[in-house]
């Protein structure tokens, strides 16, 4: 079946630290993954995506790593800032075309000044 889960429900870091948020997925047919950030009272905000033919992708201060062997996804945030405090969700797409995203449970990132 399909499931996407997160190891850590809450991650607390100091401002300036690097943060790593992890995600495990179980559907080996998934070929597209997205990280979203959700601030309180807002909708999910796209951060970065990666396709299954890649194992690393970098954005501005963020890096996503994909390990298909162990079905693991991670989001690395460099020089974490208080504005990064939010809930982070990984999501996977295993359907053809542009179908549903299956979201993980979410990890809350708390950044202390």
């Amino acid at each position: 079946g399909e499931s996407v889960g997160l190891h850590l429900p809450t991650l607390s870091v100091q401002e300036g630290d690097n943060s790593i948020i992890n995600c495990a997925y179980s559907n080996s047919a998934s070929d597209y993954f997205i990280w979203y950030k959700q601030e309180s009272g807002k909708g999910p905000q796209f951060i970065i995506d990666i396709r299954s033919n890649m194992d690393k992708r970098q954005g501005q201060r963020v890096t996503v790593l994909l390990n298909k062997t162990v079905k693991h996804l991670s989001l690395q945030i460099a020089a974490t800032q208080p504005g990064d405090s939010a809930v982070y969700f990984c999501a996977e797409n295993s359907g053809e075309g542009f179908q549903k995203l299956v979201f993980g449970t979410g990890t809350r990132l708390l950044v202390s000044p």
Binding site: Y32, I34, Y36, G41, K42, G43, P44, Q45, F46, D49, F89, A91, N93, G95, G97, F98, Q99, K100, L101, V102, F103, G104, T105, G106
Partner: protein, 115 residues
């Protein structure tokens, strides 16, 4: 920057009443979605819509739910007879489509409270 807009931001209704949640997707997007998030839980897929028809729906999306694109800009979710357990945040999303263009962009959501 283009964004998905949803109205109202908060809808309060009595159990058994019909509600319509409204969304304006990003203008050049072709694929539209509804998701919901019960308080404290993860985001769940409800339905996807393309070319004026449903392309996929979840088991949550039963006969009480329907979607419509009544004109060139709006995308609506109707719940015919609301139940207490329908209380949740409802998010609309849209994507452009095409190779490498299927990032789904989300609106800020409508909080539905069923009393």
């Amino acid at each position: 920057e283009p964004e998905v807009t949803q109205t109202p931001s908060h809808q309060v209704t009595q159990m058994g009443q019909e509600v319509i949640l409204r969304c304006v997707p990003i203008s050049n997007h072709l694929y539209f979605y509804w998701y919901r998030q019960i308080l404290g839980q993860k985001v769940e897929f409800l339905v996807s819509f393309y070319n004026n028809e449903i392309s996929e729906k979840s088991e949550i999306f039963d006969d009480q739910f329907s979607v419509e694109r009544p004109d060139g800009s709006n995308f609506t979710l109707k719940i015919r007879s609301t139940k207490l357990e329908d209380s949740a945040m409802y998010f609309c999303a849209s994507s452009e489509g095409g190779a490498g263009k299927n990032i789904q962009y989300f609106g800020a959501g409508t909080r539905l409270s069923v009393l």
